[in-house]
């Protein structure tokens, strides 16, 4: 949509987009409760977002776990505390690194894909066609994607938690020389249930940002194939920044609870 020039100035544009995304969220919430439920579309999205992102999530987690173990074991050695590496790494992973890095990596992949797909549909009038044929594009396209992200991103984070700890185990055992049993007893003693929910709780919000930004950028794409490229790029930037900013705010909030 075209708009007056002042609306393209940074701060106005920012609040304009923010408002539009709130509106999109509101409309998807209403559409969610209207029958019929789009089950096939949800399953398709869960497959794309969830199953399709497992390799990315696993690879990210395993290397992050390993590198964290390497760094901490070396740093703690100088204090003579390298036996605590497992505790430190697992807590860092579960509360912070697994949710944030999974969301960043998977989010970049998933949200740009959504923006590109919905953007192509928008520029080839397929979204208009959905409406012209008597359906609601928010219900057909946005709701399944938001739901899929809300479900899949926390599950992927849980996978990343486990895989990350396994990666760290490898390094802790070789570098510090503890047994697997010692390592896991330490991890289980460290990670409380609220630590787990601290991380998973954040990942639910990240999932929501990924889907809403990807869908919003896609649905509002204008200007042919060039517009699709632009929407995709903007999506990755917005998703990354919103995840990092939200992480700071949510961590503050969750630590205060």
């Amino acid at each position: 949509m075209s708009q007056p020039a002042w609306q393209s100035w940074g701060i106005f544009a920012f609040f304009g987009h923010l408002g539009a995304m709130c509106l999109l969220s509101w409309r998807s919430t209403i559409a969610l409760f209207r029958r019929p439920f789009e089950r096939t579309a949800l399953v398709e999205q869960l497959d794309t977002v969830g199953i399709g992102s497992i390799p990315v999530a696993v690879l990210t987690a395993v290397f992050v776990g390993m590198v964290m173990a390497l760094q901490f074991s070396t740093a703690l050695k100088s204090y003579g505390a390298s036996l605590y590496t497992g505790s430190l790494v697992s807590e860092g992973l579960v509360k912070e690194l697994a949710p944030v890095l999974t969301a960043l990596l998977v989010g970049g992949r998933v949200a740009s894909g959504m923006a590109a797909e919905l953007g192509s549909m928008a520029v080839s009038e397929q979204i208009d066609a959905i409406r012209a044929l008597g359906a609601d594009p928010v219900k057909k396209l946005v709701v399944p994607r938001v739901l899929a992200c809300l479900i899949a991103i926390p599950l992927l984070t849980l996978v990343a938690d486990i895989v990350g700890c396994l990666g760290a185990q490898l390094i802790v055992m070789t570098e510090v020389g503890v047994t697997a049993r010692f390592y896991w007893e330490q991890v289980i003693a460290t990670i409380q249930i609220h630590d787990l929910f601290h991380g998973l709780g954040k990942s639910v919000f990240f999932g929501y940002f990924i889907a809403i930004i990807g869908c919003y950028q896609g649905m509002t794409t204008r200007g042919g194939t060039a517009g699709v490229g632009k929407a995709t790029t903007v999506t990755v930037v917005w998703v990354s920044i919103s995840i990092l900013a939200a992480d700071y705010l949510l961590t503050n909030l969750f630590l205060a609870l």
Partner: protein, 256 residues
């Protein structure tokens, strides 16, 4: 003016429609009546917003001021429920067909039937075959849009539009970018839908050959409103310089 116009009340009426996109004014005070059973062709230069009119009529875009009625009901203030009902009666063929890439031809054609709760599964399959037969593409049910040529995509798009038997069909540049054989085929389809099923058609085009083949009546967009309306014969003999220019200059030119 002409016989159709006097005989019946308009089925669709645009009155005093104003629409702007940012600084660009598309319509200021556009009036147009469409009568049941006619093929009305909307002509006008590129970028004057001919297709916007179709999207306004379907409620895909909101107007700034004025009124649009279809079947005696105001479209511009319609709630989602009635709007869905309206979109069952008025179908649109989009410029590139706008088929859903992720679905087969059959799924595309079934889409409006499912949305409007048309028939049962068996009759829907039957209807898909029937519709594809009508647009001259029998047996392509299982193909995906990417496997079809541009002309075939447009014809499947038309098939999808007529699937739930609408009363009015809106055509956005139905012949643009097609080869002569497909152009003739689409023109033939527009005429036969009108003759056989009594469908009212609004055709937005700048292909004057096609316009003169299908149209009962012409309307020309100029200076942000309908500057001229007239029957095919009136248009052919029009003395108005800018209509004349368009008719003569446009004839024989296929596109853009």
């Amino acid at each position: 003016m002409d016989l159709v116009e006097k005989a019946t009340d308009p089925i669709i009426r645009f009155s005093g429609v104003h629409k702007r996109f940012g600084p660009k004014i598309i319509y200021s005070g556009l009036d147009l009546d469409v009568y049941p059973g006619e093929v009305l062709t909307i002509i006008g230069g590129s970028g004057v917003g001919k297709s916007v009119m179709l999207k306004l009529l379907l409620g895909l875009i909101r107007i700034d001021a004025g009124s649009i009625t279809a079947f005696g009901e105001e479209v511009t203030t319609m709630a989602p429920g009635p709007l869905t009902g309206l979109r069952k009666r008025i179908a649109m063929l989009f410029q590139g067909g706008a088929l859903f890439d992720s679905m087969t031809v059959a799924q595309n054609i079934k889409y409006p039937m499912l949305e409007h709760g048309w028939g049962d599964p068996a009759s829907r399959i039957e209807r898909v075959a029937e519709v594809l037969e009508m647009v001259g593409l029998p047996g392509v049910e299982h193909l995906y849009p990417a496997e079809l040529s541009g002309g075939m995509r447009k014809r499947v798009g038309l098939g999808r539009a007529i699937a739930v038997q609408p009363d009015v069909i809106l055509y956005d540049e139905p012949t643009t970018g097609l080869d002569p054989i497909n152009i003739r085929r689409i023109n033939g389809l527009i005429r036969s839908l009108q003759r056989r099923l009594g469908v009212t058609s609004i055709v937005v085009t700048h292909d004057m050959d096609s316009a003169f083949t299908v149209a009962d009546r012409f309307a020309m967009v100029r200076d942000q409103h309908i500057g001229y309306t007239g029957t095919r014969a009136e248009t052919e003999q029009s003395e108005i310089p800018w209509v004349r220019e368009f008719v003569v200059g446009g004839k024989g030119v296929l596109d853009d």
